[in-house]
Homo-oligomer: 318 residues x 2
Amino acid sequence: MAEWAQLAYLKDTQVNISSEFSIIKKYLSGIGTSYLNTNGINLAGGDDCAVIAVNSKLLISTDTSVAGVHFLKSMPAESIAYRSVATALSDIAAMGGNPVAFNLSLVMPKFNPDWMKAFRKGLQKISKEFKLPLIGGDLVKGPLQISVTVLGKPEKKILLRSNAQPEDILCLSGALGSGYIGLKEYKRSGELNNKTKPYLFPSAQIDYGRIIASIASSAIDISDGIIQDLSHLVLSSGVGCHLDLEQVPVADKKYSKQCLEFGDDYQLLFTVPPKKLLALQAKLNSYKKKCHTIGVMGGKKLTLSNNKGSIKNWDHFQ
Amino acid sequence: MAEWAQLAYLKDTQVNISSEFSIIKKYLSGIGTSYLNTNGINLAGGDDCAVIAVNSKLLISTDTSVAGVHFLKSMPAESIAYRSVATALSDIAAMGGNPVAFNLSLVMPKFNPDWMKAFRKGLQKISKEFKLPLIGGDLVKGPLQISVTVLGKPEKKILLRSNAQPEDILCLSGALGSGYIGLKEYKRSGELNNKTKPYLFPSAQIDYGRIIASIASSAIDISDGIIQDLSHLVLSSGVGCHLDLEQVPVADKKYSKQCLEFGDDYQLLFTVPPKKLLALQAKLNSYKKKCHTIGVMGGKKLTLSNNKGSIKNWDHFQ
């Protein structure tokens, strides 16, 4: 009879759980626990599934961030964690929703306590910012990457990308290119400063999405670059668009082409019926949010006013 | 922008959709579409999030499968797809739930049409088997791995792993080691046959979980090996267990130690109050399901009757 004395129940010190589960317990548990009840989470972590009781429709989206593709391995783990969740949250923002909880799957090549501590810090930071509990996931050995599934509750109206109408005005929540400039500056300085912050800790436009949800006709978040993402909106809505690239604000005019091409900005691109534009701008203004009008829907194609030459956005397989 | 483009209207040729989205459209769209309505999915693919309207609690679980860790790169893509979803579904089974939908994040180093075609076939196979629509996800370039998030509806009673009581009988849904034997045989023959099938296309015990949900006191699925997973059940429930390893059925007695250690079997390990054991066995029998009684809960530790020497189960970081 072999005795599993280690698994003695109750006190941590008595329990020699295997390291995989010790890591989960130490670094990936208890994140956003105080938001569980308010957000309708009945059970989080410690079982085969999490259990959610939300009396509404639920939004769900998954976003995977791979080292060397979506972030640099050398970046602070705090930023890697934060931005992996932020990019997933951006999809909730684009539907005008309120984040409820997230699941996280972390694949990493080896265990480094300092890295894990910083990673946890990044999770805590974004969890606190959006009152968002981590409700489960898994921890796996392999090439570094993070897959995040976010759940959200929609506002009364769900903002689709398929509902833009002819004559609707195309709007943008903020300047593009701060991701590009941030990464460029981070590669140079390796520091967290005003320029690198938008890349290291991008802002999911959750508030913005909620503000426009009832007025805008359609929306999408810009992750792959404005042309790429606008063409999704155009295709989904079945209506063309004339985009005036000269009206698109960029983070740094010296690099305006790169700012338009790079993506990783997580601004919202949305359409609004012309009659509602002023009301929307006034509403956004009252929240101290900007609204840039950059084009108009109509026709069957996406056309550009552009003196920047061909713009090519992000694509994994081209 | 994470969810998948259905790219409905307008012809592809009119807009230069990037290949990433063409791949999604051709290989990852339209899987299980006929189950969307019945399963309460309002919107799947083609927007930033999927929208779910389920009038019940919701189960959610994420499972990531990495090439070289959870599967061999050389395995048929059909199997890689199928088993990535099956292992995630196994968590729904362990809660006694009914799968509703899944999200899939595919990370792959390059695009190979034949591989993608086979991968799609595997997704279609499991989607059909469990009447489960694919509602979104993303496609990313990087080291091969698949992250699957499954959603499920629980039965009236949710089967937790934390509710085992002293004197409950510990039961197992089927023999362990078919995963081990299957991989061993696959490495030898590279073929799909009766021996390799349980590894290449593992069965998520969804029906079994639903049958036992109202009677069992606790359950967990065995993915990491019986000792590892039983110790989670013991720790969560705060009650010890005596496990008689001699009573645990194995796929091949010649390799009984490996069968107990390897994991990857996705059988259910569960407890039942002694008074309800006969009723449960009769119920399972009526569904032509087996039930192996292998231990009894009690005390504060996990103890083993064992003449196989020390058993060590799967751990990513040990």
